[in-house]
Structures are given as structure tokens and as C-alpha cells.
């Protein structure tokens, strides 16, 4: 267990979230966790709406991609920032209001205690607060089996992007992070790097406004691509070290 103040960076990737981002930051400033210093960092992925202006006038800490990188490169930038600035914990939190800041203490607790090096906020351990589409449930079940088969790690909600990383996991994520739909693949990568992964139950909101990055039309492509990525990454890590 680490003593002293834990420096926590909340990495919030956002793309065209002008209506969601400031309310979320407002909620975050109200959060107080014992022995923790919480710094939100918004990474604006070249939004085309008013996000950039609103971030500037709010005075919050933010980074800006000059071209659109997609979710992977954007979240990774947050981890690079966390690694360069010596944060103890980095939390990945969606900019659309799906991940309530009030649940933050639950996902960082195992990291602070030293029980786990990466913690995933899961919608499935308890059955509250989240309904999902049939296809998404099928996909999640599939990735659960795939990752279990390849690494032995059991993560029930592999698509959840509400996650906490300790310093070691931050460095690994700064080093490698998948481009598109990174969540299930990251589990395999970290498992290969001997990172201890835990899952805790959290409540999640439906999206506050806007459109989710995964709709049913792209689900099949999503599952196919992520499966291929996972298999190839597995082979690469297994045979190339």
C-alpha cells in the first residue's frame, strides 16, 4: 500500500461533446477522495463543434489533437501525459457522461490498496443501472471467452472503458495502445505483460447526448476486427516477446 497523496489523472477523451463535457467536469470537481489529488485532463480529438472553445474558456487542463486520431491514439496521449508528469494512477473516463464520477472511488480503491494494477469498472458483476443491446451482449460474452482462452484472465465486461491504471500499467499503455475499439485488446496486452487485472461493479448511465461509437450496423465489423487484432497481438507477444 502506497503512503502519502495519490496523484490521479482522469483522462477524458472527447470528440464533439460540447454539451456533455463541462457538466462532467463540474461533477468531477465535486468529487473528494481521501488522500487523493484528482486532476482531470480532457483530450480533445480535433472536435468540429464548440468543444475546443468551451474547454479554453473553462480553464480546465486539456490537450488538443491537431488531426483526428480516433479513440485509441487519444486515450494513449492521456497515458503519455500521465507517464511524463509522474502520476500514480490514470483513470480513463468517457467524455459523454456514461461513466459517473461518483463511482470513481470504486475503481481506484483496488489500485491504491495494491490489490490490482489495472481495474475495470464493470456493468455485469451487479445487474444495476445498465441495459445493453443483444448484439453487444453477444460480443462481450465472446471477448470474455476469447481472452480467457488466450490468457486465462476473466473479464466479464471487456468493452467497458471506465478503467484505472497504476504507474506501471500507465507506462505500458503509453508504450502501446490499439487504435480502434481498444478495450478488449488492452486486456490481452496487459495480461501478457503480467499486469494484475481486477473488475469491480459500477453503475453506468446511458449516454447523456450524442451518438455512441458502436452502433448495431458496425457490430459485426467490430467483432471481426477486434478478434483479429487480439489473435495477432497474442501471436506477436508470444513469439516476439
Amino acid at each position: 500500500m502506497k503512503t502519502g497523496i495519490n496523484k490521479i489523472l482522469i483522462v477524458i477523451p472527447c470528440y464533439n461533446e460540447q454539451d456533455n463535457i463541462l457538466p462532467l467536469l463540474g461533477e468531477l470537481t465535486k468529487i473528494n477522495i481521501e488522500n487523493c489529488e484528482i486532476t482531470p485532463l480532457v483530450v480533445n480529438d480535433a472536435s468540429t463543434d464548440d468543444t475546443q472553445n468551451r474547454l479554453k474558456s473553462s480553464g480546465v487542463l486539456f490537450l488538443e489533437n491537431v488531426v483526428n486520431l480516433g479513440i485509441g491514439g487519444t486515450v494513449q496521449l492521456g497515458f503519455i501525459y500521465a507517464a511524463e508528469n509522474g502520476f500514480d494512477i490514470a483513470v480513463q473516463m468517457d467524455g459523454d457522461g456514461q461513466h459517473p464520477p461518483s463511482e470513481l472511488h470504486k475503481i481506484i480503491a483496488p489500485v491504491i490498496k495494491g490489490d490490482a494494477q489495472m481495474v475495470i469498472g464493470s456493468r455485469f458483476i451487479s445487474q444495476t443501472g445498465f441495459k445493453s443491446t443483444f448484439l453487444r451482449r453477444v460480443g462481450i460474452r465472446f471477448f470474455y471467452r476469447l481472452n480467457k482462452w488466450l490468457t486465462g484472465v476473466e473479464v466479464k465486461d471487456s468493452t467497458s472503458g471506465y478503467r484505472a491504471y497504476n504507474a506501471q500499467a500507465i507506462r505500458l499503455a503509453a508504450d502501446y495502445y490499439p487504435d480502434e475499439y481498444p478495450e478488449p485488446e488492452m486486456i490481452l496486452y496487459l495480461a501478457h505483460k503480467q499486469v494484475k487485472i481486477a473488475e469491480v461493479a459500477v453503475n453506468m448511465n446511458d449516454r447523456a447526448s450524442g451518438v455512441s461509437s458502436i452502433n448495431s450496423f458496425r457490430s459485426v465489423y467490430y467483432m471481426f476486427k477486434v478478434s483479429l487484432n487480439i489473435l495477432f497481438l497474442h501471436l506477436k507477444l508470444k513469439f516476439n516477446g
Binding site: V43, E64, L69, G73
Partner: protein
């Protein structure tokens, strides 16, 4: 008459091959095509030229490989070359994708350092 017609197509083929080769050279000179990507196209241009000047070469080769219908040798050869080159372009594209990502991230971090005045570049 037959003789004249068959020379006509040969002249057209040679002119086309020269035009193709000239286009590649012009693109390089203008800086629109990097030399490293031009080798394969220059080689193709020279091949066009060779086959249009030396007309019986195709039949000779087809006979050598045991190909009954000589033009199919052209198709096989060019399909193969184009496939290889497309794979090469996909590799180049993937590398550039990674490079653009790194550059974008680096620019974002530098901008932040400049704004806060904490870093020197």
C-alpha cells in the same frame, strides 16, 4: 498489307511505352513521385518497351514456360506484380499511420508545454 498493319501496332506500342516512361520521369523531376516508388514503374516502362521492340519475345517465353496461349503470360505476370506492389503500398500506409499518430501526440504535448511556459523546446 498485313505487314504494314502489324508494324502499325508495334509503332503504337513503342510510342505508348515511351510515353509511359516519360511520364514517370516527369513525375520524379517535378517532385510528385519519390524515387523509391518510381523504380517499379520505370522497370515496367522498360519492360513495355522491350516487348514492343522484340515482338517474338513473348511467344518465346510462353513456349519456354509451356503456356499455350501467350497473352495469358502477360496477365499472370502483371497480376503478380500489381499484387506485390499493392501490399507494399499497404505497408507504407500502415507505417505512415503510426507516424502521423506519434507526431500528432507529440504536437499536442508540445503545445501544452508552450502554453504553460514550463518547457523549452
Amino acid at each position: 498489307m498485313d505487314k504494314i498493319y502489324s508494324y502499325r501496332i508495334q509503332i503504337v506500342a513503342i510510342l505508348a511505352a515511351l510515353f509511359f516512361f516519360g511520364t514517370i520521369v516527369r513525375l520524379i523531376i517535378k517532385g510528385k513521385l519519390r524515387t523509391e516508388y518510381s523504380f517499379i514503374w520505370m522497370a515496367m516502362g522498360l519492360l513495355f518497351l522491350l516487348f514492343s521492340v522484340w515482338r517474338s519475345l513473348l511467344d518465346t517465353l510462353a513456349h519456354f514456360f509451356g503456356v499455350y496461349y501467350a497473352p495469358s503470360l502477360i496477365f499472370i505476370f502483371f497480376f503478380f506484380m500489381i499484387f506485390i506492389f499493392l501490399i507494399h503500398l499497404s505497408v507504407v500506409n500502415s507505417r505512415q499511420h503510426e507516424e502521423i499518430k506519434k507526431l500528432t501526440q507529440e504536437i499536442a504535448l508540445m503545445k501544452k508545454k508552450l502554453e504553460s511556459g514550463s518547457g523549452s523546446i
